[in-house]
């Protein structure tokens, strides 16, 4: 067990070192830097949406709105701090801002979730959809704080590859460990059969709200990263179509697989950039993929598969044993 931790930590650090090296060698340039940051942000959004949609089984159509709440809260805070006498700057300021953004989104999650999650069925989809539109409408209305339709400008540029990478790692780690605890089992049980979960002694309302809130929290963190990467915010970026794009990522990767969500987030963020001419057809292809996936592979490409070093090791061993046995015959 301890060995698995060491190997995973090693892999994470190696990937970090490799990318850093590529930057130093000039193989990756500023354009790539921006792309990688977008990938990081989308990974956080995808894994957090997967918590509510994939593991908890609640269709959330307003994930981008939680991101928006986090983004604006974090940006307004760090703008204020930067303009004040308080000597907080750089990554420490970013971390405080992200936590604040996350908490703001979590509070929004509780406000929406506490009443909505008591109801069964499709209501959470409808209510989160409505919530997304309300958030946009409020951002435009309170323009003294948010910049309204002109956008919020002058946000300190604090996000860089170094801090974004480790924030992604921490997010994934927290969510994976949460899901693999008794609390995570309770959430998965709700997805599988809510009535049976309740009859097995699990407070379904509590765990639905918990999962939903944690999911909103990390969406808020991603929003904060986004704000401090672009240095400006525009409410239109957080519309219904972004929420749907995130849903596409999670559905494609596998509802209930963090590995799938991460892979899909990387691929679907990079693909349109690599295939520029593809841009025009991107959403059309997404639409066809969504329908085809639901009809032919409703569990996503990865299903509930999770990558693990030992899993691969085990598989190799099995194949090897089989091979040896065949050889012996």
């Amino acid at each position: 067990m301890k060995k698995a931790y060491a190997i995973n930590a090693g892999l994470v650090l190696t990937l970090f070192a490799v990318i850093t090296l590529l930057f130093h060698l000039g193989i990756l340039n500023r354009f790539h830097n921006g792309l990688i940051l977008l990938v990081c942000i989308n990974i956080i959004l995808a894994v957090s949406l997967n918590l509510s949609a994939g593991f908890l089984g609640q269709l959330v159509l307003g994930h981008a709105a939680f991101m928006a709440v986090g983004a604006y809260a974090a940006a307004i805070f760090s703008k204020y701090i930067t303009g004040s006498e308080i000597g907080l700057s750089g990554t420490p300021l970013l971390i405080v801002a992200l936590i604040l953004g996350g908490l703001a989104a979590a509070v929004a999650g509780i406000i929406i979730g506490v009443p909505a999650l008591r109801l069964r069925g499709d209501y959470i989809a409808i209510i989160t959809l409505g919530f997304g539109l309300i958030v946009q409408s409020l951002i435009n209305y309170f323009r003294t704080y948010t910049g309204g339709a002109q956008g919020l400008l002058g946000i300190p540029r604090l996000t860089n590859f170094n801090n974004a990478y480790f924030i992604v790692v921490i997010t994934v780690l927290v969510l994976v460990c949460l899901i693999r605890s008794r609390h995570g089992r309770a959430m998965i049980a709700i997805r599988e059969d809510e009535i049976a979960a309740e009859a097995s002694g699990i407070s379904t309302v509590y765990y639905k709200i918990l999962g939903f809130t944690v999911s909103a929290f990390f969406a808020g963190v991603a929003g904060g990263l986004y704000a401090h990467y672009l240095a400006m915010l525009d409410s239109r970026a957080f519309g219904f179509s972004y929420s749907i794009e995130l849903l596409v990522i999670v559905v494609l990767g596998g509802l209930g697989s963090f590995t799938g969500a991460i892979v899909a987030a990387v691929v679907l963020t990079l693909l349109p950039e690599i295939l520029r001419e593809f841009q025009q057809y991107r959403m059309l292809v997404y639409a066809i993929m969504l329908i085809a996936m639901m009809i032919f592979r409703p569990k996503g490409l990865m299903g509930t598969y999770e990558f693990s070093v030992f899993g691969i090791f085990d598989k190799c061993k099995k194949v090897f044993v089989k091979f040896k046995r065949k050889g012996a015959q």
Partner: protein, 294 residues
């Protein structure tokens, strides 16, 4: 003051009756297959494009163009059901909902790729002038036509559902499709007809909507569809009179918010009301509460 109020009320009624007409499509489909057909809003867009091409491209008069659009949308509705929704009839609600979102995205982006995002002017019929009601209050003939056409459509639908054999079959399938099937009702046909009728009504809705806001573009169905859907949920999804009530109520609330509170807040108020209604009465204003059977 009072005259202003009445004219806002008429505006609300005008847009509300279009909401109601489109909400019917959502509610009928939900009632029968328990699916939120997210693509219904985009049927409006397709309908508007059909009318646009028939009138400006082929020079066909407006009314026959609308009738053709009704047929075209009905066909689109049936195709949508057969290709995307039918294979998923026994899948989880989540899968079906995601598919519906997929169909909606597909229609929007197929039209975007083919016809560009630029809005085109809609060849609205030349209904101008207005009827003086009393004092300074008048109602435009367009508003009058919109309200009357919507009302006639809803009355026709009411008789269709209550009075005809097909209507009876629809009600039977929505109660219990298994039992309906055993009674010799062709469930597949009934579902197809439901989609067709709902989509044809959406085509009428699109003619009225585009005559009021004469612009046609690939995403025009999104906002309209969402509002109509809210109307359906507000009245109680699955209940036909509920959709009418919800639509008109929503139209009036929206028009009043725009007039007396703030244009930017109108979305927040509309969806805020939706959330509050769902919390207080989850099954909508006219709905009955039902729990899951254990």
């Amino acid at each position: 003051m009072f005259e202003m109020f009445v004219s806002h009320l008429i505006n609300g009624l005008q847009i509300g009756s279009i909401y109601a007409l489109i909400a019917l499509g959502y509610t009928m489909v939900y009632g029968i297959v328990k699916l939120i057909n997210f693509a219904h809003g985009d049927v409006i867009m397709v309908g508007a494009f059909i009318i646009l091409f028939l009138v400006t491209g082929a020079g066909i008069p407006f009314i026959p163009a609308v009738l053709t659009a009704m047929a075209g949308c009905a066909l689109l509705g049936v195709l949508m059901e057969k290709i995307a929704y039918k294979p998923l009839r026994n899948a989880t609600r989540l899968s079906a909902l995601i598919t519906a979102i997929g169909v909606s995205l597909f229609l929007q982006n197929a039209f975007l790729v083919r016809f560009s995002p630029n809005p085109r002017p809609f060849p609205r019929p030349a209904i101008s002038g207005s009827l003086n009601l009393f004092g300074d209050v008048s109602i435009s003939y367009l508003a009058l036509v919109t309200i009357v056409v919507s009302a006639v459509m809803m009355i026709l639908l009411h008789f269709f559902v209550k009075g005809t054999k097909m209507g009876k079959a629809m009600r039977a399938v929505s109660e219990d499709s298994g039992a309906a099937c055993l009674m010799g009702i062709n469930v597949n046909n009934t579902i197809a007809v439901t989609f067709a009728v709902g989509s044809a009504l959406a085509a009428v809705g699109s003619a009225l909507y585009a005559s009021t806001y004469p612009q046609v573009e690939p995403f025009m169905g999104l906002q309209m569809g969402l509002k109509a859907f809210v109307a359906a949920v507000l009245g109680g999804i699955g209940i036909i009179p509920g959709a009418m009530l919800g639509g008109i109520l929503l139209g009036i609330v929206e028009s009043m918010t725009k007039a007396y509170i703030s244009t930017q807040l109108s979305d927040a108020v509309v969806y805020g009301i939706l959330i509050i209604v769902l919390l207080l009465k989850p099954s909508g204003l006219m709905g009955k509460t039902t729990g899951e059977k254990v």
